[in-house]
Subunit: 330 residues, 2 copies
């Protein structure tokens, strides 16, 4: 059986360097890693995960914690996360957070993960506290819990929302409704706050009768759309908390024979692949999901390598995508 | 620190029984497992994954191998797989098969997984051969590679397709087109064979000009729909290889102003949640995905416990769901 010592000999490095290189330790230079990988390939060397856990005190796995594995948005991120983590020679363990914090923390601890990506953090979640208590490195993805500072990869919504509001104003709309995301998710609250502030700059106020709030799901979108369109004086455009919500709104429009954008315009957020489907043709705020994933994974690996470094928040920018659900003119 | 010996003492069992119970070994009875879990909970005992790997020669992880993490169908199965595997005290490691068989096998070997769920097997894949060679337990999910016999959890399409064909005949259609799935996936070929046989019993032949074939994706559905509807004498109904393909077909219909079902009816397969959306309202063949997942996971655990047992294929039944994309009468 080929061992890491054989690889070390062929690569002309020490055995600990081989171990470090094979587990993606950032202290190993790219050049050295390439030499080690070449040697490993030549010899057909397969490092054993159990052996690696033993020798390093670490397994080489990253946990991805999500609360809702049925949500389209998280589906979209799983592929890029697996790709990026694999590039760094680690594996992804999926952890479903069913709301039982102690159970989740016990599972994370018993797995001895290198670090955890938190993808569905609510502002009231105890998970970040408990991970910090146990010194488990983690990174916030897309959503943060401000009470527990940590590394975060998030979307800067300013550019996309500014463009959205300009398009709404240019189309001549003044009656703007909103089907908002949950109040305990920063992705819900920050988008809403910025949206209302930007509309306010154009003299547009969104009254409370024009607002509904719910989960980031199609049911919330359908229900919110129904509520707003049942008003005596319904809005001319409905801004949805995200694309999944907007998909629910468009479905409700089709079900009830309401024409988009003739009867009411609809906009979303996230630019999911579904937004481009002709059945939706959804105007929406987009951002580069692959960049966001890369950022989060790299922040997490940096944290693992340097547990005491200062926390960083990194941003991907946003942009607006115009499709037929929000027309250019009224 | 609480050890497995403390748990054994409190539960009144041996330490190896505690280890076996905590890793979900089927040789431990439900009653004994409950006793051990109670004791572990009382003492706050957290088994260490690395320790478990050492003591048992096994980690406690199941790999889920998929080729296409962007496909809606596989999104839908990830949640149920994580839920079922968690119930059995194991974790799910996601493995993306990018087509490099040696790399995939190397990763699976180095992880020391208990077993692997193969969710996107093609009939020409080398992965099942190589797993068998290395004595890695695996189970086929939904699709199989007939050349390498193994445990399999698959859909019995007969009932659903029979109902579909009866509905097509009852609606008075005789010109039936098909946008088929890939020829190297049993889910593609078996559905097509059964469909054509059942239509043949009613005297309906699907000429080759009425057939297109492609991947299980929306692009294939849009392209196939376009090709068939461009024929001088287009079909009256288009049967799609699965719902993702049908979604592509409906999108193309909307894009080109073709009315479903007035101009052409469309049917799918899988009954994804999207099929019920009013924008699609897709008639389709359904089956219980949770049952299929449970079956596959349980077959895999049985295989791990009894490597020499005979291979089994288990089936979930199918049914037809009528929505407006296939009308009841012509």
């Amino acid at each position: 059986m080929v061992t890491s010592f054989d690889v070390a000999r062929l690569a002309g490095v020490s055995q600990p360097t081989v171990s470090r290189a094979m587990r993606g330790d950032p202290r190993v230079s790219g050049k050295t890693r390439a030499k080690v990988e070449d040697a490993a390939r030549t010899l057909g060397y397969v490092p054993s995960a159990a052996g690696r856990a033993l020798s390093s005190g670490r397994t080489s796995r990253i946990g991805l914690l999500v609360t809702d594995l049925t949500n389209e948005f998280y589906h979209r991120m799983i592929g890029p996360v697996v790709a990026r983590v694999s590039e760094r020679q680690h594996e992804v363990v999926l952890i479903a957070d069913d709301g039982d914090v102690d159970a989740v923390i016990t599972r994370i601890s018993s797995l001895g993960l290198d670090g955890v990506i938190l993808a569905t953090t609510t502002t009231d979640s105890m998970v970040p506290y408990k991970l910090r208590e146990r010194s488990v490195p983690f990174v916030y993805f897309n959503r943060v819990a401000p009470a527990v500072p940590a590394d975060a990869a998030v979307v800067d919504v300013t550019v996309g929302l500014t463009e959205m509001v300009e398009k709404i104003v240019a189309a001549g709309y003044s009656k703007v409704g909103a089907v908002l995301g949950p109040g305990n998710a920063t992705t819900g609250t920050q988008r809403a706050e910025q949206l209302f502030a930007l509309l306010g700059e154009h003299g547009i106020v969104v009254p409370s009768s024009y607002r509904t709030q719910g989960d980031f799901d199609v049911v919330s979108g359908s229900g919110g759309f129904r509520t707003l369109m049942a008003l005596e004086d319904p809005p001319e455009v409905i801004v949805c908390g995200n694309d999944v919500v907007a998909i629910g709104a468009v479905n409700e429009a089709v079900r009830t024979g309401v024409s988009i954008p003739d009867d009411v315009a609809v906009v979303g957020f996230d630019d999911l692949p579904e937004a481009a489907w002709p059945v939706f043709s959804l105007s929406t705020v987009g951002f580069d999901l692959n960049d966001l994933v890369r950022m989060a994974v790299d922040l997490l690996f940096d944290r693992i390598a340097a547990p005491e470094a200062e926390y960083r928040t990194q941003y991907v920018t946003s942009y607006f995508v115009t499709r037929s659900s929000l027309p250019v003119g009224p």
